[in-house]
């Protein structure tokens, strides 16, 4: 699914431009002085989109909670509070000292949740960054050479994409599990594992949009003007192709946060009890699910809301960057 983007002058596409003709974005020679730039136009559209606002608010709140965790709670994560009150059939509910009560290990549930946000943010961002870095490098290599064409270009493109095909033929969770198994249990293993599963997505996406850009009229114009191929790829094709990748990165943050929880749920996350992690909270809550469902519901809802925030924002960004779906 590639979203063809117009050259940088594209933000100026007016409403009367027929849908489905993003190439008609004015003279392809680009540049900021004609009209609004693509990104500024996108930002304007984002501000007017309620979906984007809701998404941005959730994402901001999540980041703030993660950053300010120590200020939001007086307790340490993983520290047992009143372990004596915990019985096999019940955990203490909300009280003045503990807003949401205690979890099955006797830690303050609110503290665990707040510090869990921190873990999710770090894991999500780092693993997506790994996937993004490796994936875009591979995608740019394939797409760049593919857009240049010729025998060598074709060959490099095919070779890289075969690797991506193999990569994609392993379901992401399995890939993550295999990698986590090699790297022994650690936080880095989880990040690398989840990042690795994202690599082929970014590689395919960037290559696709670069090839699409390579076929557009402004590239033809640039090469007719005698520009060197490397320059066309680096300063025209590549910059105009990153939009979908950025959108995908936002959406992948949501998936990464869910997958971190999933790996923890499968027992592959960090084993350190002092680290609060939403996925592990869910596992621990399962044994007491019938009597104390809140232990599972809070972290579960926290994961869902955070993922929803990134998804909403990513979708809105996609819409804002795509001139065809503008309202």
């Amino acid at each position: 699914m590639t979203i063809p983007l117009p050259p940088s002058g594209g933000g100026a596409v007016s409403a009367e431009t027929a849908p489905g003709t993003p190439g008609a974005a004015g003279p392809g020679t680009s540049d900021e002085d004609r009209g609004v730039s693509l990104w500024r136009g996108a930002f304007r559209r984002l501000r007017r989109n309620p979906t984007a606002i809701v998404g941005a608010v959730i994402v901001l709140a999540f980041i703030l909670v993660a950053l300010l965790a120590p200020l939001l709670t007086g307790y340490e994560p993983g520290a047992a509070q009143d372990a004596g009150e915990i019985t096999p059939s019940s955990v203490p509910g909300p009280s003045e000292d503990h807003w949401l009560g205690l979890d099955s290990f006797g830690s303050d549930l609110w503290t665990q949740l707040v510090y869990g946000a921190r873990q999710s943010l770090i894991y999500g961002v780092v693993s997506t960054a790994i996937g993004l870095a490796v994936g875009t490098a591979m995608g740019a290599l394939a797409g760049g050479f593919g857009a240049v064409g010729g025998r060598v270009g074709q060959w490099v493109d095919t070779a890289v994409m075969r690797v991506v095909d193999i990569w994609l033929s392993i379901p992401s969770l399995l890939l993550a599990v295999s990698i986590a198994a090699i790297l022994t249990q650690s936080a880095y293993a989880v990040m690398i594992a989840i990042g690795a599963a994202q690599v082929p997505i970014f590689a395919r996406l960037l290559r696709g949009s670069m090839l699409a850009q390579g076929r557009s009229d402004y590239v033809l114009a640039a090469s007719a003007l005698g520009l060197r191929k490397r320059r066309i790829v680096m300063s025209h094709v590549l910059p105009n192709s990153v939009g979908p990748t950025i959108v995908q990165a936002t959406l992948n943050l949501a998936t990464a946060i869910i997958e971190v929880a999933a790996l923890s749920y499968l027992g592959l996350g960090t084993a350190d009890p002092a680290v609060a992690e939403w996925g592990r909270m869910l596992v621990a809550a399962q044994d007491r699910f019938d009597e104390s469902p809140q232990l599972a519901i809070y972290p579960g809802v926290a994961i869902a809301i955070t993922a929803l925030g990134f998804t909403l924002f990513g979708e809105a960004l996609r819409e804002a960057l795509d001139p065809r779906t503008r309202r």
């Binding site: 193999i166 392993i170 399995l174 599990v177 295999s178 198994a181 499968l266 699910f289 993922a307 929803l308």
Partner: protein
């Protein structure tokens, strides 16, 4: 068409070769001695020596690789460290449970998703559309295992409507031919067994269907909306074709192309979700077995299962490509 099929099959070869290299390298990259990794931690030194000699871990790597590929070609995928059972056997025994779950989930996702997406596109901007779109966004954001736990709590523990674990009640004495429990029940005309197996599938498949459902809804909606703006639809409408004919022959057929691709892409996602769903509902499929094997570092099982799953996944993608070729004649030519 035949040439298209053959060429597409030919593309599988490099993928399989690449996979075998990866899996070969994977066991050798595991921390510690590969023989020990294959045998588990409590292996005796003699056993380790035996495996070292049998696998020839001291030979040059390329020799080891060709021996590995040779054993794969002979159908020897090793045996589980845990119970000594050949990897192929357990896979064949457990795969039907996962396939049943995956097929049920995909059916739900397609049967509910395509019409919902179509309706949303037809009613763009209205309440129905907003509802469907926000619902699908929420569906993507909810972790499968969390939804599975919730469904289990509400419909099984609280309401007691549906069973919460296993594939069939243990009290039911069912004959199993294919290990696809629903199919077995139908084949043997043991209707109570079939119905019971379906009841056991309801909650897990709903949990597993949510994400593919949400994605299919969104793709269908976007695709239908795009096609509805096409010139040929306007032409079809203005030449007086009935709304039904335009919807079916012009809008839907063209709009379904990306939907079919998406359905194929869900296979991998379904699998990842199946591991989690099976774990929550104790369905004893390959997902749950894999999960247990991860915990016990049962590498032969992991190695074999990853290979099988990747092959099945590639075959599904192949089928999708072929379906694509059937729906869209242009694909065959290019």
């Amino acid at each position: 068409m035949l040439r298209f099929v053959l060429r597409r099959l030919g593309l599988l070869v490099p993928v399989l070769i690449g996979l075998s290299v990866l899996l070969f390298a994977w066991v050798r990259a595991l921390p510690g001695d590969p023989a020990r990794a294959l045998l588990g931690e409590r292996a005796t030194p003699e056993a380790v020596e035996r495996v070292r000699a049998a696998y020839g871990f001291d030979d040059p790597l390329w020799q080891q690789y060709f021996r590995y590929v040779g054993s794969l070609l002979r159908g020897d995928f090793g045996a589980s460290v845990r119970d000594g059972r050949p990897v192929v056997d357990t896979f064949l025994e457990k795969f039907p449970a996962t396939a049943e779950l995956g097929i049920a989930a995909l059916l739900i996702a397609v049967i509910v998703g395509v019409p919902l997406g179509y309706l949303a596109a037809r009613n763009q901007g209205r309440a129905l559309d907003t509802f469907v779109v926000s619902g699908s966004l929420l569906g993507v954001a909810t972790p499968v295992f969390f939804l599975a736990i919730l469904l289990k709590l509400v419909f099984s523990t609280w309401l007691g409507w549906l069973p919460s674990s296993l594939r069939q009640d243990v009290t039911i004495d069912a004959t199993h031919i294919t290990n696809f429990y629903v199919l077995d029940g139908i084949l043997t005309r043991e209707w109570d067994a079939a119905i019971n197996a379906v009841a056991h599938l309801v909650l897990p498949s709903i949990a597993l269907a949510t994400i593919p459902l949400a994605i299919i809804v969104r793709i269908t909606r976007a695709s239908v909306a795009e096609v509805m703006n096409e010139d040929f639809v306007r032409t079809a409408e203005s030449k007086g074709l009935s709304a039904g004919v335009v919807s079916r022959r012009h809008v839907l057929r063209n709009a379904l192309l990306p939907v079919v691709t998406t359905i194929g892409l869900q296979a991998g996602l379904l699998f990842s979700g199946a591991v989690l769903t099976e774990t929550v509902f104790g369905l004893q499929g390959i997902g749950q077995y894999l999960f247990e094997s991860i915990g016990r570092r049962d590498y032969p099982v992991l190695q074999g299962y990853i290979l099988f799953i990747a092959i099945i996944y590639s075959l599904i993608n192949l089928l999708v490509d072929l379906a694509y070729g059937v729906i869209d004649p242009r694909v065959r030519v290019s």
